[in-house]
């Protein structure tokens, strides 16, 4: 199934047996994405950013 990361717009494949609510990591930018819609007809899933606590980055 096709998926597009909503953060970096990288297009990638996800397993066909992907489930609603499943958390997927974008292969390019590593953002945690949640599956919010599975469109079998189009062979596409819709993703939304999953909450993840902000990590300190050495300020």
């Amino acid at each position: 199934m096709k998926a597009t990361c909503i953060e970096c717009y990288f297009e990638f494949e996800v397993d066909d047996d992907v489930m609603l609510g499943e958390i997927i990591e974008c292969p390019d930018c590593g953002t945690e994405l949640e599956v919010i819609e599975i469109n079998d007809k189009e062979g596409e899933v819709v993703l939304q950013k999953a909450e993840s606590e902000e990590e300190d980055w050495g300020e």
Binding site: E7, C8, Y9, F10, D28, C29, G30, T31, E32, S52, E55, W57, G58
Partner: protein, 348 residues
């Protein structure tokens, strides 16, 4: 295929030798050095001990003509006087000096010195495969880019022509490691003086500006002048260009991702780095030195209309020897990533 290097005693020469020695389809058979003729290469490049017993040979177009391609790793000005003899014996040339990067002899003279062979300019192709892959296929001379220029041009090329870019206020604030200056040493490079500095040595008028302006102007098809300031920082290898671009209208991340992905999605040596977590969320030389990658990322300022593009690479590899070998692969019809798509040790 046989390759040779003229002037292989410097840091760029050392990386060229290393990359050609591990290249599966090319044999390095000829290396010259005026100062170290007859000496073992490994005595100049200790990382090559236990790897090769090659010695520096004398410079002679006849010997060079046994090769298919010759890399010029001599300083600018020396290169322009040797290249014509090599072309005359039918050799292809990849020049790592500045001598064939610029198209305008007057601009060349302003930054370097009078050019003795401007008639060869039209035979030379700027050595960035991401911009000139087709032209490089039939080039006689590939002019490998300046390291600073490579980082800045690769960062700006995908979006410089977009209408939301204000082309009159572009600032490139670059940080570079000490190997960028090559092996010639001075009191300024003396360790107690050089360690732990953030030294704005090229606050204005850095030589690589000429090729940056040239290549950006070619993309937008009108003259562009950007601001470049360079700093020596506590690294040996590596460049980070922080490119400040003002916007003429509000935009979103996807307005940047689209042109970036359109231009670089299939590029084997461009990596997009814009991540939500980890120590390497944005391009950082630490994650790219030792490899032929150029890491590119960006952030949109939410307070003022400003886009910040980050572009990081290894000044000796993607900024010199790596791009040179990439050009060679294209010129000789070898698959472009051959001998280059190798992970670097990390952390170094």
């Amino acid at each position: 295929m046989k390759a040779g290097i003229v002037g292989a005693s410097g840091y760029t020469g050392g990386d060229l030798i290393r990359l050609l020695l591990i290249h599966p389809e090319v044999e390095l058979t000829y290396i010259t050095s005026r100062r170290y003729q007859g000496k073992y290469v490994k005595h100049l490049h200790p990382n090559l001990r236990g790897i090769t017993d090659l010695r520096f040979d004398e410079l002679s177009p006849e010997k060079a003509s046994e090769c298919d391609i010759i890399f010029m790793a001599v300083p600018h000005k020396a290169s322009m006087n040797i290249v014509p003899d090599l072309l005359a014996v039918g050799l292809k040339v990849v020049d790592l000096s500045a001598d064939f990067r610029l198209k305008d002899p007057d601009i060349y003279e302003r930054y370097y010195c009078p050019h003795t062979h401007p008639e060869l300019f039209e035979k030379a192709v700027y050595g960035l495969p991401e911009l000139y892959r087709d032209e490089l296929k039939k080039a006689e001379i590939a002019a490998a880019p300046g390291c600073m220029a490579a980082s800045a041009i690769l960062g700006l090329a995908p979006i410089i022509a977009e209408k939301f870019i204000d082309r009159d206020h572009i600032i490139i604030d670059a940080k570079i490691g000490s190997s960028g200056g090559g092996k010639n040493f001075s009191f300024a490079s003396h360790h107690p003086e050089r360690a732990n500095v953030v030294r704005p040595y090229g606050a204005v008028g850095h030589r690589h500006l000429a090729e940056i302006n040239q290549e950006l102007s070619l993309i937008v098809k009108q003259p562009i002048k950007v601001g470049l300031s360079t700093h020596a920082v506590s690294m040996v290898r590596g460049i980070l260009s922080t490119i400040h671009v003002f916007l003429t209208e509000p935009i979103e991340n996807k307005d940047i991702w689209k042109p970036f992905r359109k231009m670089y999605n299939k590029e084997p040596f461009i990596r997009f780095v814009k991540q939500p977590s980890g120590n390497y969320r944005l391009p950082d030389p630490k994650a790219v030195i030792g490899s032929n990658f150029c890491d590119i990322g960006f952030m949109l300022d939410e307070d003022i209309p400003r886009l910040v593009i980050l572009s990081a690479l290894d000044n000796l590899i993607k900024g010199a020897a790596g791009s040179a070998v990439q050009c060679m692969n294209i010129m000789l019809g070898i698959e472009e990533t051959t001998g280059l798509l190798i992970p670097a040790p990390h952390p170094m």
